[in-house]
């Protein structure tokens, strides 16, 4: 089990690097566009690229954010409920999360198939859209794994 946990954690970290690189690129690209605009040479379609990078930034950060307990929740009932009741709520919410992200991943994957099939591209630069859908779908799948390891972690503790 600990091997599985380590695998998931590594996976999250790689995805996080992609997200971080996208965030930094977003900043540098926009600054370059603003500067080049002064010389009447704007980079065409910057906002499309920034939107694209924005999706990578957010989507690829999901699993690690979950791992770091970065998502907010209401804790005033779970704080009070210790023992079996608290444990049951914890297991239930992890399973609900797995279900939700499985649905999201599966349907984003289908959406990616559709985008590929219908060869949808971005408005100005004609960038294909399907890799984004596949990418976020994959991250949601990893998110499912994170929620499953959550269960194991609590058990081990």
């Amino acid at each position: 089990m600990s091997g599985f946990i380590r695998l998931v954690e590594n996976l999250c970290r790689y995805l996080y690097w992609v997200a971080g690189a996208s965030l930094a690129s977003m900043m540098f690209l926009t600054v370059a566009d603003v500067v080049l605009r002064l010389f009447k040479r704007p980079i065409l379609g910057t906002y499309e690229l920034v939107g694209f990078l924005g999706a990578l930034t957010i989507g690829f950060a999901i699993p690690q954010t979950s791992l770091d307990r970065g998502h907010v929740l209401m804790d005033f009932l779970t704080e009070r409920l210790k023992g079996l009741g608290g444990r049951a709520l914890y297991v239930a919410t992890r399973l609900l999360g797995v279900g939700l992200f499985a649905i999201i991943a599966w349907n984003l994957f289908l959406m990616g198939n559709d985008l590929l099939d219908k060869s949808e591209v971005s408005l100005t630069l004609h960038l294909p859209q399907y890799p984004l859908a596949y990418g976020i779908a994959f991250c949601c799948l990893v998110q499912c794994l994170v929620l499953i390891t959550d269960l194991a972690r609590k058990e081990a503790a």
């Binding site: 605009r37 949808e120 408005l123 004609h126």
Partner: protein, 312 residues
Amino acid sequence: APTVKLTYSVFFPASHGHSILAMEWAKEVEKRTNGAVKIDVFPGATLTPADQCYDGVVKGISDIGMSVLSYVKGRFPLTEVVDLPLGYTSGLQVTRLANAYYQKMAPKELDDVKVMYLHGHGPGILHTKTPVAKLEDLKGLKIRCTGTSARVVSALGATPVAMPQTETYDALQKGVVDGVVSPIETLKGWKFAEVVKCSVQNFGSSYSLAFFVAMNKKKWDSLPKDIQETITQINQEWIDKTGKAWDDFDKIGVEFTLAKGNQVVALSKEEDARWAKQVQPVLAEYVASTKAKGLPGEEALKFCQEWLKSNP
């Protein structure tokens, strides 16, 4: 018989003339089917965003939808022919052409929905912060555009800056861009008249944007034959109504910008022809790119050009 309830996602804001016209269409359907069909209209892209509207109809998120076809770039290569700078004179002309074209060519790309009718905005022309009278004045101007209009702006010798419609007002006000290409109704609809000074009627090189109104195929097939016929009849009536509405909006846009003290410049015949010649490569590029996909883009273009010749 039980009432059929349908949802209709419209990307125009609720107060916009096209949302009102869509609601009238819904009312008309309800009235002429004696209440057998009831339609809830959701304007302002609140149910599905503009670029998700079409697929939202295919997947049944809304039963009916109205949005811009080319917001889903690449999915409708043949219908996008209407967006090209073919030199339009009115919204009615564009709208009639779009429907005539669909009737004739029935491109397969629209087969996953039941098309109610298509329409297109009036001539997409140039609006700038500094006066423009001839092609040379465009050199070095940064012009807001997207998609096909970006190709038009490049061809005319200006610098295209692609950005969302919602940011254009700000960018114009602050001088991030020097102008915008759009139908003149946007001078009122999006308040651009407050931040531009001059509109150029470059009709010879004007482009448009094709809009669709479409129904989920399964929903359509589930409707009784007589109701289908009634709706088809109403759609026929709404083609001209919608085209004329575009022209009314353009007229209001002209009055609005003139009242703000801005100019509306007509190009001389020779100058207009120069501009038109300048955008020809955009058409050639279209033909080449459709050919590469094995699609009859050349035929589509020829049909439109001939139709426009006989319907000036």
